[in-house]
Amino acid sequence: MKPRLESLAQLLLLLCAFLAPWGVYEQVPGVGLPVSDCLRLLLILLFLAHVPVSRTLRVPFEFAWPIALPAIAGPLLYLGIELVASREYSLPIPMLVWLLETSRAIPAGLLTFLAVVHFARSRELIVQCLRLWCLSTACVAVLSIGASLGAVVPTAFSASSGAVVAGQRSLSSGGREFVCALVAAVYFASFYERTLRRRALFVACAALLAAGLAALLLPSVPRIASWRLPDAVSHTWVQVICIGLVYWLMARVAAKVEVNRREGEPGIHVLLLILLGLKAVAHVAGIGRPCAGLQLGLIAAYALPDSKEPSRVSGWHRLAVLPFLLLIAFNIGYVHPGIVTDARSYAALAPHLIYDGHVQRVESRMEFFAQRYPAERQTHFWLGHVELARECPYRAACEFAEAVKPPEDLRLILPPPTAEERDEFLAKLRDHCSARPEPASCYAHEQALLAAGKQRQALNLLEMRGTTSPPRTPSNVRQRVHTVAAGLVVELLRAREIEKDLQAWDLDRLLGLLEVWGCVVQRAPETVPRRLLPLACVARHGPHTQEVLVVGALGGAHARRATSSRIEGVSLATGQWSGLEPAGSGGWRTTLSWPVGEGETPLATVHIDVDGDIEVDLADALESGDAPDAPAVRLWLP
């Protein structure tokens, strides 16, 4: 039984080393539990079973005491403090909670360390583990290159710099893994491997890892000047003691390896020292944990004098990697929508973040995915929520309209919003519009209803809202004005499908509706030729666009300008079109002004010449300023 246990444990070590760099891809689909955690737990259980069966603990005292001390004294000390502080000598529930909370971190890592040192008695096995880890990290580097080229969905990213990584849960852990594996690959290729084939293999690995590292770091190069160390974190005294003990353990392991190296033993001592040094530097700089239990355990086991047995993992045992390869291949293509630990499931955390007020964080995350994957619908859906949280109902309705469009690409990362989610959003938008000082003037809810295909409901609301305006147009031009007014309502609601329904509306009712919405409806100056009238100018701003629309009796014009980045600042005020003024060339012009900085800047100018030709000039003043949320509309009647 003992040899079987040992060979199983060594196989587990090999599998853990293989799975170490895969991060998100080695999770159980739909659950989010890493498979390597299950394997480590199995390894710890094997260790706890093997020690009483074999009656030996192969961990030297100098490695065991820094682990035994916090494992035994820590909970006892904590319990004592709790009891003294609370003066209630009852069941130690806080201690159990504390143990459960920290069970994934320090105790699990230290127990893994013990199990690895106990079982990894073969230097051959340890070198096999390091080789396998190096190869699988090179595969992750290939995926990372694919992620930076847009072929693979990144699992960690920086929305500001655009740096991405695949597999790893954070950019810093990706960078650390690539650097460590690159050093190992270079070492194996240069100093350790004897056959040409293996050397060539590790040279290729090193090249891939260097390329993966470059793909990760290059987007951040322009931002190096603004880089700063991560924020300091305050530690409790228990954490300080634990970190101190782990440092001592690392120092002790490094010292053992160094003494072996000084004694001239053949092996990979230099590589192990470099790896330990890299881990220590990363932790000191605050960009990594002190050292994972598996890696530190393998390095410690290599330094022990009795670790010269042959490996018990034979050739066919290595086939055990295959099911995990299949799992990884499946996870590369599949994203479960509800796993919060997977950054690809970008919408999983959004409701919580918005609820907690982290609107900017949600926006940058959604914007990152929306730019890389324009077909995604959930990005626009949550950007709509963001706009709603910022009290911008028109922009929210625009985003919602994008979110409910039928998907063009069937290979979406996340499924489009469900009917319940859409209804929930519509209810939120309705409540928001109703809570405004002038609820009738906001038509974003109707706009969203029409986008969602709820035409009947939207028309009923419009009919309820519209008031009849007093007749202001001569009867001979009523039909012309009706056509322009109906076209204007259609354009404002972005819904061509209700054009026929609006034809049945009375003109005064249409004009009444436009006035309720805040449009300026007035007679044009007498000097303007009647054949050019009616004329309507609309200016509206989406998250990425400035748009001016002219609807007139002789035709219309449409100018649209995409901004270089998302217009972040939003003003709740509305812009105003100036009155029609004579232009120098004999035509007329109207200007939309908007306060930018201390003065007023023209955002758009519409020129109408005597022949009815319309020209629109759009300014780029909004690149750094606030944009109005509500459209500015003016209608000139004959």
Partner: protein
């Protein structure tokens, strides 16, 4: 043939033990050096790192600030 008693010139058991103790001493010395450097570096870097907003204590509200706000 003359009898020659087999007397070892050096007690091998004690020698091995002595070597092991020497080795352990050297290990401990190196480990202590590494630990001190590591701990000092960690403390220094932690001082250099900017304080997190989470751990920054809230600024006390002074009467002057309240008046200015009013």
């Amino acid at each position: 043939m003359a009898y020659t008693p087999c007397v070892p010139e050096r007690d091998e058991g004690k020698g091995i033990m002595r070597d092991a103790i020497e080795r352990l001493r050297l290990e401990r010395k190196i480990a202590l050096l590494i630990f001190v450097v590591l701990a000092a570096l960690a403390a220094l870097m932690n001082m250099l790192r900017p304080a997190s907003e989470r751990v920054r204590p809230p600024e006390p509200e002074t009467p002057a600030a309240t008046e200015a706000a009013a």
